[in-house]
């Protein structure tokens, strides 16, 4: 299947609607066979970029290249990209098999060959037994699979997916995430996936591009983005985060110390330029220290509120030195019994947090 893989380059892409810049100078390279997610809140320009790649939106500036070939002037029907639409866009007047056959019918594929490929595509999504049903007789998850089979049956150069899971309930969504990832591995195509759901992005992607107000904020593998967010927005949008605004008081080779309201904390890694620093600290990287236990960073506080999630407790802790902190601790063998007003000592290591840019 490797011969079918293609890379895609979006170079200095811009799309303006009057004074609004829906996409503002975005450059992005999607490597062959990768599962890349465009992630951002609504209005971030992610769907506009996907529609420009598909050919439905003519960019104001910039170009799009498939491998080394510019495709910007090509109409959608000549790009040969498979696409799964939000709401699936199955043809209601056709059966499942007719829907999947549509791209082959368009290409005048001989009947026997078309039948074989439709059956193959439906087997790929385990829907062979429903081929004579109408879309209205299928569940949401089944319709989604038909849309996938239809987008893959003509061996497209890329697969574009526009929030394909957003209409499904939470449990089904989780199942289909696993299926989509397995499907990606099986067919080996380059997938470009658009979503506003950070969990979807983290669980499926080889690489995530985070967009905000039409601009690309940060791009990288999910782990890197989660552990090393570049800006406050990324840290906040991808998972949860506490933010500590402090002043650098000491610089060392392998780290620095900063002060927040008189309290002193240490941080690994190079210090950013300037005296002011913003530190992002994930709730699950804060631990609860026993009395007398020493730690690189320590604050004392009282539990203002808490909630139980089965796997974990989420605590809201009021501290004098670092303000209000969100803390997530495993529920199994939790070191403290959560109770409002209870005093706790919070501790984290110098590599648990990360400096981020303000935005």
């Amino acid at each position: 299947m490797a011969a079918l893989q293609h890379s895609l380059t979006v170079r200095r892409l811009a799309k303006h609607y009057g004074p609004t810049r829906a996409v503002d100078d975005v450059t992005l390279t999607i490597a062959r066979g990768q599962f890349v997610t465009l992630l951002g809140p609504s209005g971030s320009g992610k769907t506009t970029i996907l529609m420009a790649i598909a050919g439905f939106v003519q960019p104001t500036a910039g170009e799009i290249l498939l491998d080394q070939t510019p495709i910007t002037p090509l109409p959608p029907e000549r790009r040969n990209f498979g696409m799964v639409f939000q709401g699936y866009a199955l043809f209601p007047h056709m059966t499942v098999a007719e829907n999947v056959n549509f791209p082959l019918r368009v290409r005048n594929v001989a009947r026997a060959e078309a039948e074989r490929r439709v059956a193959e595509a439906l087997d790929l999504v385990q829907l062979g037994h429903l081929k004579d049903r109408r879309p209205s007789q299928l569940s949401g998850g089944q319709q989604q699979r038909v849309a996938l089979a239809r987008a893959l049956v003509f061996q497209p150069a890329l697969l574009l997916l526009d929030e394909p899971l957003s209409a499904l309930d939470k449990k089904l969504r989780a199942e289909l995430q696993v299926e989509l990832k397995a499907l990606h591995r099986r067919v080996g195509l380059t997938f470009i996936y658009v979503t506003h759901d950070q969990e979807e992005a983290l669980s499926m992607s080889d690489s995530i591009a985070i967009l905000r107000d039409g601009k690309l904020v940060q791009e990288g593998p999910p782990g890197t983005l989660y552990e090393r967010p570049a800006t406050r927005f990324v840290a906040d949008f991808l998972g949860k985060s506490n933010f500590l605004a402090g002043r650098i008081v000491e610089r060392r080779n392998d780290g620095f110390a900063y002060a927040v309201d008189g309290a002193r904390f240490v941080q690994d890694g190079p210090a950013p330029a300037g005296d002011d620093v913003l530190i992002a600290l994930r709730p699950e990287k804060i631990g609860i220290a026993a009395d007398g236990e020493a730690a690189p960073n320590l604050v004392e506080g009282t539990i203002a509120a808490w909630s139980y999630f089965g796997t974990s407790f989420a605590l809201i802790v009021e501290t004098a030195a670092a303000g209000t902190l969100q803390v997530t601790v495993p529920a199994w063998r939790c070191p403290v019994e959560p109770a409002e007003g209870r005093r706790v000592r919070l501790a984290w290591t110098a590599d648990a947090s990360v400096p981020v840019a303000r935005d």
């Binding site: 439905f56 959608p76 000549r78 990209f81 696409m83 007047h93």
Partner: protein
């Protein structure tokens, strides 16, 4: 159940009166058509089918029925083709200009027919189209366009634009998208429009009076002449035939709608 949603006695009486008022003229025609008298009246002694026999053996009445059918069929084809293409074009382009075009296309049902007829009459003299099949088919076809425009535009309003995008993303060109995706979805609207355009031509009585002289004698015109010259009960029979065909068409429309909802 919400009591406020139920009609009071006044509203009930009003509603039924309106309905009766609408139905009575249709209802009176049938008893008139089975009269045993030689003039337009209710049956005196016993209902009789003699005038039906006259209608179905009279060369003049049968020729008129046949003329009306031919004109209705051809003008329907004309109205459906141009109305559908125009509605789809306006929908696809969807600019301020196409909004204007949509309103212009509705003019034939906004402008009073008598005014329209006068204008056509002047024009047809010059084009030598008076009293010709082509002349009346053109007029009935053009005045039938609004019905097709309205019904097709309504079905297009419910058309999910993503279906068109999906078709194009799979490689379908404009003509394939039109034939395999858009047309099947707007077919019910086209069918409804065709039925209304047909009925419009079938019972049209104003334009034909201006355009026809010797050659054209559609059913409505023949009835009009009959009322002016003598009160032959065969007219009532012709009226029943017209109503029957219109009802059949409407029933067909209802059946199509029912099927579409399923």
């Amino acid at each position: 159940m919400d009591r406020s949603a139920q009609a009071g006695p006044v509203a009930n009486v009003l509603a039924w009166s309106v309905l009766l008022f609408l139905l009575l003229p249709i209802g009176i025609v049938f008893p008139l058509s089975v009269t045993d008298q030689r003039f337009l009246s209710l049956p005196y002694e016993a209902p009789s089918l003699q005038h039906y026999a006259t209608f179905f053996t009279s060369e003049r009445w049968l020729a008129s029925t046949w003329q009306s059918l031919v004109i209705a069929v051809f003008s329907t084809v004309l109205a459906v083709t141009s109305g559908t293409l125009c509605a789809i074009g306006c929908w696809k382009l969807s600019t301020r200009l196409t909004d204007l075009v949509r309103v212009l296309m509705l003019l034939p049902i906004i402008v009073p027919s008598i005014v329209y007829a006068l204008g056509i009459y002047r024009l047809w003299i010059r084009l030598d189209l008076l009293d010709t099949y082509l002349g009346i088919i053109l007029v009935h076809g053009v005045t039938g366009i609004p019905y097709v425009m309205i019904t097709v535009t309504a079905t297009l309003a419910n058309f999910d634009p993503r279906l068109e995008q999906a078709a194009r993303s799979m490689g379908a060109n404009l003509s394939q998208t039109l034939r395999w995706v858009i047309m099947p979805r707007v077919m019910p609207g086209i069918a409804s429009g065709a039925i209304f355009a047909f009925i419009h031509s079938w019972d049209e009585a104003v334009l034909i009076l201006f355009i026809a002289s010797r050659a054209l004698f559609t059913l409505p015109r023949r009835m009009w002449d009959g009322i002016n010259e003598n009160l032959d009960p065969v007219m009532a029979v012709a009226a029943c035939v017209m109503i029957l065909l219109s009802m059949l068409m409407l029933a067909g429309d209802l059946w199509l709608r029912r099927r579409r909802e399923r």
